[in-house]
């Protein structure tokens, strides 16, 4: 079963003690720019998929930092890799590449 990190937290409270540092470092080693996100929300504002289904790279990154990778995958499930978010990100993050890496690393069964 995929461990989405929910099982241990029955309440919706974020528990940073559950943050998987090793996995995060794995992501950050291929996507060092993930650390640069400043939660501005530009990516979410322009997201094409977001017009129809809740899709938010900002929230996905936030969820990973908060020890809730399951939610991160959910937030990116409908992404079409159109790259609009990369055009607006003020920190110049290669968002498409980051989204692929998040899926690759956290989507592993």
């Amino acid at each position: 079963m995929v461990d989405f990190g929910f099982g241990l937290v029955p309440s919706s409270r974020i528990n940073l003690d559950l943050f998987d540092k090793q996995k995060y470092e794995e992501l950050a080693s291929v996507e060092p720019d993930v650390r640069k996100c400043m939660s501005c929300g530009s990516c979410t504002a322009v997201c094409t998929a977001g017009n129809f289904v809740t899709t938010s790279l900002r929230e996905a990154i936030e969820s990973i930092h908060n020890g809730q990778p399951g939610k991160a995958l959910e937030m990116l499930g409908s992404c079409q890799l159109c790259g609009k978010c990369a055009m607006v990100c003020p920190r110049g993050i290669n968002t498409r590449h980051l989204i692929l890496s998040i899926n690759k690393i956290y989507g592993k069964i």
Partner: protein, 351 residues
């Protein structure tokens, strides 16, 4: 005749204004109530944004005050306004006939124990920004024993009406980011969290420092004010906040919590202000005559203000304010004591 200028407070503002006024040809008397010059700067280790040594900066300032009459361990005892000047009696028995008084009385750090919910003075693993600077200087503090998880709490005693301070202390966001980086440098394995409401990184290079903190040091910034701290049985801390970006309550256990105590008006500065009857504003800092165009003049004749006496300032702000005050003091004295001009022109020709 040389005009006397009395400067009250021997921190950076007082030192810089002393040196400038001395060079302009005035007879400068600088008094400091504590045993040493330098104010808070003397206790600090490194300065944001570039991390230069606070002690080197202080040495530079001290190196410029040659000729200034400095009295440490000295306070103002009483003040009488005469026709054009002030008769000031100092606690060391000396009387000064001051033609202008410059208040560079600075600030006090907020007493962090007053925010009881953060547990300073109650839980062992809670310290302040000033305690951490002391640790950086002497490398010893019983609270710091290879911490693995460190939290920084922004706005302690600032932006908090219940703590008696609605305003922002201006320097503590940058200080938190600086100290967070320094802790990562000292303990590369540690996880470091900064709890902020707004990140106020307004100055030149401050944003670069923030980016570096995220990118190179992996420091995690969580938007939300720490609301509650409790101690676990093993002595670690349980910290609660809301992650207001995620709209979720959040908890984390930490080995060390650093409180960014803000700036409060200096109590001893206020006492001197009362003797002079310098008005203060609601925030407790001295009023200025025209805040935007000449923020270094008090509403009273011959009384000037510089540095954190008129509200929180960074060190460069303070030094610029002190230089500005020196110019305004010079303008004022040149207008009132016209015979002094001749002397000053002579001094200037000598350069």
């Amino acid at each position: 005749m040389k005009n006397n200028v009395l400067i009250v407070g021997g921190g950076p503002a007082g030192l810089e204004a002393s040196s400038q006024l001395q060079r302009l040809g005035y007879n400068v008397i600088l008094i400091e109530r504590s045993a040493a010059l330098g104010g808070h700067l003397a206790k600090w280790d490194r300065l944001f944004p570039s991390g230069v040594s606070a002690q080197d900066a202080l040495k530079t300032l001290l190196g410029r005050i040659e000729g200034v009459k400095c009295f440490t361990d000295t306070e103002v005892q009483s003040i009488n306004r005469l026709d054009k000047s002030y008769n000031v009696i100092l606690s060391n028995g000396i009387t000064v006939l001051a033609d202008a008084v410059l208040m560079t009385t600075g600030f006090d750090l907020f007493e962090a124990s007053r925010k009881e919910e953060y547990g300073y003075g109650i839980y062992n693993q809670v310290m302040t920004n000033a305690d951490l600077e002391a640790y950086f200087r002497n490398h010893s503090d019983k609270r710091i024993d290879n911490p693995r998880r460190i939290g920084f709490v922004h706005c302690v005693g600032s932006r908090d009406e219940k703590a008696g301070c609605r305003s922002c202390s201006k320097v503590c966001c940058a200080t938190a980011v600086k100290q967070a980086i320094e802790m990562k440098q000292a303990f590369p394995e540690a996880d470091v969290f900064c709890f902020y409401m707004d990140l106020r990184l307004f100055g030149r290079h401050y944003e670069d420092m923030y980016l570096k903190a995220q990118k190179d040091y992996g420091i995690r910034f969580i938007r939300g004010r720490v609301a509650e701290v409790a101690e676990n049985a093993d002595g670690s801390l349980q910290v609660k906040a809301e992650d207001t970006v995620a709209s979720k309550p959040l908890k984390v256990s930490l080995d060390l919590l650093v409180l960014m105590a803000g700036m409060r008006p200096s109590v001893s500065g206020r006492r001197v202000g009362e003797l002079l009857e310098v008005p203060v504003e609601e925030d407790g800092y001295f009023s200025v005559r025209e805040g935007i165009v000449s923020g270094q003049r008090s509403p009273l004749p011959g009384i000037f203000l510089a540095g954190a006496a008129t509200g929180p300032k960074t060190l460069p702000d303070t030094l610029a304010d002190a230089r500005a005050a020196a110019v305004l003091v010079d303008d004022y004295l040149s207008g009132i004591f016209t015979e002094a001009k001749h002397y000053k022109n002579l001094v200037r020709e000598l350069w």
